[in-house]
Symmetry: C2
Subunit: 385 residues, 2 copies
């Protein structure tokens, strides 16, 4: 067992040019009808940056046979196994034990970890419960990964040509530890090739419409010396196009991506609102800030949803002056100065009333821009739990 607390790049043999990883999240609470694992999204992002493909991800409960079966399956097929959770001090925390049994190494107590945990408790004026010694049990040959934000240390376990990484479940602890590994021993392990990505946001067009329009681009990109991989994803009210290239030459990769982005802009036109993965509200915030413009909103049945998205952006209080949710006709008259006759003549959901609402909120707030959304509330069922 290594007594160094920083992981090193130990492990025998090189990985293939396009290494594969799988992710296993451990914890019965993620197998209920209301919870799932989301750590895997961040892990996928970090591994993809290093050019490591994620070929499967799993969630498993606190039953050692299930854990061992999954670990065996993954180790038979991929280069890297990342596991999260199950590293706490209780009897339910079985990740260490399951992995030690599969790689056939005894668990030995790591004195430096006991001391680190003991010191952590002492700094808070507490005595370390004996149960926490479990967290210092480490499979022989493993390297310990410091956890600056919690008691459960991580583990880096070489297994032949493969690597097993164990990380705690709380996102704050897991993220900091994985980031360090990605910059250090994992980067050393993979070849020089990396994955580079551009995320293009498109609003106002359906997925199949975008796909159809881009078919000639897809065909052209395949013939390039550095081929572009394109994935289209439909999100709420918008479409995301992910473009990736794999190369050891970042400058070349970026310039190829830039050419592909130009193709998309030429094909899709103004409906492209970002080529850097920004959200609609980020783009709007940037444009307003650059131009020094302020805005106020008049909503009706959207019930503050528009304003809520606008104000999700840090610094939005410099450009969002106010927002009014005017459900009733009386509120539209009182708060926005919409003439009663206009509503009577055209109805509350009409272009003249929408214009009057936008105008009203703009004038009363003394801002540059007014927005109004006079949609009809659609009947909705309660969201599924």
């Amino acid at each position: 067992m290594d007594s160094v607390v920083q992981p090193n790049a130990a492990g025998t043999g090189a990985w293939p040019a396009a290494p594969r990883a799988e992710i296993v999240a451990v914890g019965s609470e993620m197998l209920t009808p209301s919870k799932t694992d989301t750590n895997s999204l961040y892990i996928t992002e970090v591994l993809n940056e290093l050019g490591i493909e994620v070929s499967a991800k799993m969630i498993v409960g606190d039953r050692i046979e299930d854990l061992m079966a999954l670990v065996r399956l993954v180790l038979a097929r991929v280069d890297l196994l990342v596991m999260t959770g199950g590293l706490g001090p209780t009897e339910d925390d079985l990740t260490r034990d399951a992995v030690a049994r599969v790689v056939d190494k005894p668990l030995v107590e790591h004195p430096a970890i006991v001391e680190t945990i003991r010191a952590r408790f002492e700094r808070r004026g507490m005595v370390m419960p004996e149960i926490n010694r479990r967290q210092a049990m480490v499979p022989e040959g493993a390297t310990v990964i410091d956890n600056p934000n919690g008691t459960a240390p991580g583990l880096w376990i070489p297994y032949g040509n493969r690597i097993i990484i164990l990380l705690p479940g709380p996102p704050r602890e897991m993220r900091a530890m994985l980031r360090k590994l990605a910059d250090g021993p994992l980067a050393a392990r993979v070849g020089r090739e990396r994955l580079f990505r551009r995320v293009i946001g498109i609003a106002g067009r359906g997925e199949s419409h975008v796909e159809q329009a881009l078919l000639p681009c897809y065909a052209r990109w395949k013939t390039w010396e550095l081929p572009i991989d394109a994935t289209i994803l439909a999100a709420m009210g918008q479409v995301e196009l992910h473009l990736t290239v794999r190369t050891a030459d970042e400058a070349h990769g970026q310039s190829v991506l830039e050419r592909a982005v130009a193709d998309v802009r030429e094909t899709i036109g103004i409906d492209v609102f970002s080529d850097r993965g920004e959200s609609l509200e980020q783009v709007i915030g940037r444009l307003l800030t650059e131009r020094g413009l302020t805005v106020a909103a008049a909503e009706s049945c959207t019930g503050g949803l528009l304003t809520s998205r606008l104000t999700d952006i840090p610094g939005s209080s410099t450009y969002v002056e106010r927002s009014v949710v005017a459900y009733s006709n009386q509120a539209k008259i009182d708060l926005l100065g919409v003439p009663r006759e206009l509503i009577a003549e055209h109805g509350a959901v009409s272009e003249p009333v929408a214009t009057a609402m936008a105008d009203g909120v703009r004038q009363r707030a003394g801002v540059d821009l007014g927005i109004a959304i006079p949609v009809i509330a659609m009947p909705r069922s309660t969201p599924a739990r």
Copy 2:
């Protein structure tokens, strides 16, 4: 091959009293940094209702070897395998092929499915593309599950004592088909025992505080003739306590749960806002409707978040009259009638100004209740993609 389009309960041998299921979602798009599978939450809910435990769930890409390895692993360990996705007509849709190879049955064309798909296209004045014939390929011995909402049929595949269910990925199609199976052949397959659940919502207390207070209840519940299983989950700003019992006698199960709920109410008191899994905004909507009260909100840095949650409830337009997001002091003065001197004296984030905001919006809107939240915007980083 069965030519009946409704699944039957075919399959040999009985399941154990507490059967286990695992869920496999198929599709490379769910292995990107921005997407994951959520179908499994609904599937877990439906299976749990039938007393079937979910012991693991997986996401796998469109590579047939990976799919086959996972299917083999699951079939070696559990009674039921539910798979979603990969049933479309393209070469990437490999679920049928992978399962047929693992259960070692040839794929044969099912003429009734071809006709159903052809008729679906014809109703839209289109000719069925030849590629859609792939969707009619069925492993010998499988029963076809009608898909009223799409072209991809589902499959019910007995494998010894186990059952494999293949469902399409789009939630609307998957849910309708699973619901029918749960009420029919799956219900026939499981024993008479079911899982009954109560979800208790608690606001204003931390998870560990609730846990500590409930320890005596947990101990008592374990000694009951029908023991209660309790799981505590922390959600945004609230804690959920899930209580479950497994029994064939629904009335008995419900009365035992009712006693446990009473224990929790006695221990936690007024911080329990629901014992039926309702959200805070559902409870508030119910209380306002029962009492015939109306409400208006004055928000500041929450930017419409409160109103957005209030108006997420169907029918909320009968009790939410309006909402004002008054970021600037001028907006608080103009829209809510807050005296300028009050802000100068106490600051915008103060109890007197909050009270004046609530009072102002209540009076101007002519409603029964006014709410104001004068929080300070906390510096936030942009959410991780």
